[in-house]
Amino acid sequence: MRILVVEDEKKLASFLRKGLVEESFVVDLVYDGSEAIDHILSGAYDAIILDIMLPQRDGLSILREMRQRHINTPVLLLSARGNVNERVEGLNIGADDYLPKPFSITEVVARIRALLRRASGEHATVMQVADLSLNVVTREAMRAGHRVDLTNREFALLEYLMAHVDRVITKTALCEHVWEHHFDTGTNVVEVCIQRLRRKIDEGHSQKLLQTIRGTGYSLRGGK
């Protein structure tokens, strides 16, 4: 899951990133409003953490512009404590949640997870596809009652696939949402990681969940 953090206060931004990266999120940081809109328009984010007070362009106008352009990425607003009007206005123009400063990083992570769940139509912290489950909080994956050990990368990959269950995900999209770096050499890395993940979750099971859509990408199928 790729998260954009828009926060001009460097220390806070870096603190946010650290906390999110530990949860296997891919994080992009930008420090000002005009740069933020550039990033948002390229559209490859699963959630956005947006500070209201920003140099050059404030968070609310960014939010307004992205909603006008029908970019429906979930947005978590950060605002100064006590500024109720700002928060109400933010929610009214399309923010999904807000968090007053100061906040704890665990709360940010929890709220982001909640936003992502809502966006994928899921409501439990444990994602379930057939007999495969993934607890995004404890980071535990189970297949048919057996624990599956995942690396950070594999966890991120599986989380993204499970959030988009039954949809075809292109290698390009996986590359963008799970990896921080875009490789010049294309999507080879994705293919190899998918193979490894498949070995872990599908090997020895008759029902193959992770399917390759030839020439397109991958899909996690619940098979109902």
């Binding site: 550039d38 328009l41 292109t170 590359c175 770096h181």
Partner: protein, 466 residues
Amino acid sequence: MIVKTLRARIALWTVAVVSGALILFGGGAAWNLRKELVKNLDIELEVDGRNLFSEIKEQPGDWSGHKGGEAFLKEESNPVDYVEVQDHAGRVLYRSANLHNQEVFRAQNGNQPYEISVDGRRLRFRVFETGRIRLVLGKDLASVRLALVELASAYLLTLPFVLIAVGAGGWWIAHRATTPLKAITRQAEKISASDLHQRLAAPISQDSIGHLTVVLNEMFDRLERSFEQVTRFTSDASHELKTPIALMRAQLETMLGSQAITPPRRELLSDLIEQCSQLSQIVDGLLFLSRADDRRLAIEQGPVDLVALVHELREDAEILAARAGLTLEFQLPAQLVVIGDARLLRRAVMNLIDNAIKYNRADGIVVLTASTDRKNAVLAVRNTGPSIALAAREKVFERFYRSDFSHSKEKGGHGLGLSIAREIARAHRGDVSLLRSDTEWTEFCVVLPIDGVSTIVPPQTTNSRR
């Protein structure tokens, strides 16, 4: 350095000019002194000569063979003088012993004094004449010479001190003259090193330094304008491209999700999506570079362990290497910490690794090494790729540069990776350079100052872009 040598040159020139003037002055003074002394000597000659001559004239009788005359002369004449007496036919009647029998009479117009060397001595003579008798009286010029020598030695003794004083004065004047230049140089350096918004301090005086300041400031104006035009163009163009690309991408993805698409179409669509993603990457790369040009790269500062950073990239790098059939080797110390932005540095290093994997021969090797001297951390990536022609060694860092080898499209990439890596390193006061490229190895290295934090230019939040 240039100012320093300019200062030395000014001091030296001052010394040279003053020496020349002093030599001219000394020569003139000596010449004048000699003229004056000789004039005095001439007066002495005149007086002594006339006295002696009148004595001789009063001496009765014929001088020829006149023994008494000789005795008289010996008695009368000054022993330091040189005396010769001739009769009207030019026969020598008397010649003082110090002349050593040398003929000293020279016919002169109007009895002007003249100079002859006798026995190594320079003498000045004057002739006194009546119809009957001729007296030649000479005096030594030694006293004149002595006076001149004394003058010269006094002069030469003081000259070094004078010249040292002049040199010091020249040094000081040069310092005074070059101080404003140095100040301008320092300011101008700062302008090029940080940003083009700054200007030289307004001139205090209307002299040539003031004029220079004004002219330089005008030049900076022009420079800033054209530089801004270029960066704004790149930045605006990238910005304007983003939305349509994102839109295209979104539509393609919607189409891909539709059930009515046949598999061949699907493949085409996903290829188009990949192309869109590549386009976005190029646009992002351009935006990144235009920010770097504008010195607006946001750099987050903190300790970064380059070794840990390489290990983070290791999983992906090994996958890429294995895919390309390459061997990946790491020769790393336990830790190598620099101050900088971890994310940017990761990007720079990954670009180099990506490059080393991409431009390699089949079953080649990629080796990563990290080392440090006291000031810098050096991370080197070498591979067994084809050697880069000498002429292309700087060009590989140019934007969109493609070598012949990389022209095949399957290599992927857009030719911005090395430029981006270099800009990142430079934003950390370091650099990326090509160390070697021969038949055996091609090696790129990132050099980063260990204390990179101190002079990293902070992103400019006040600088408005549009």
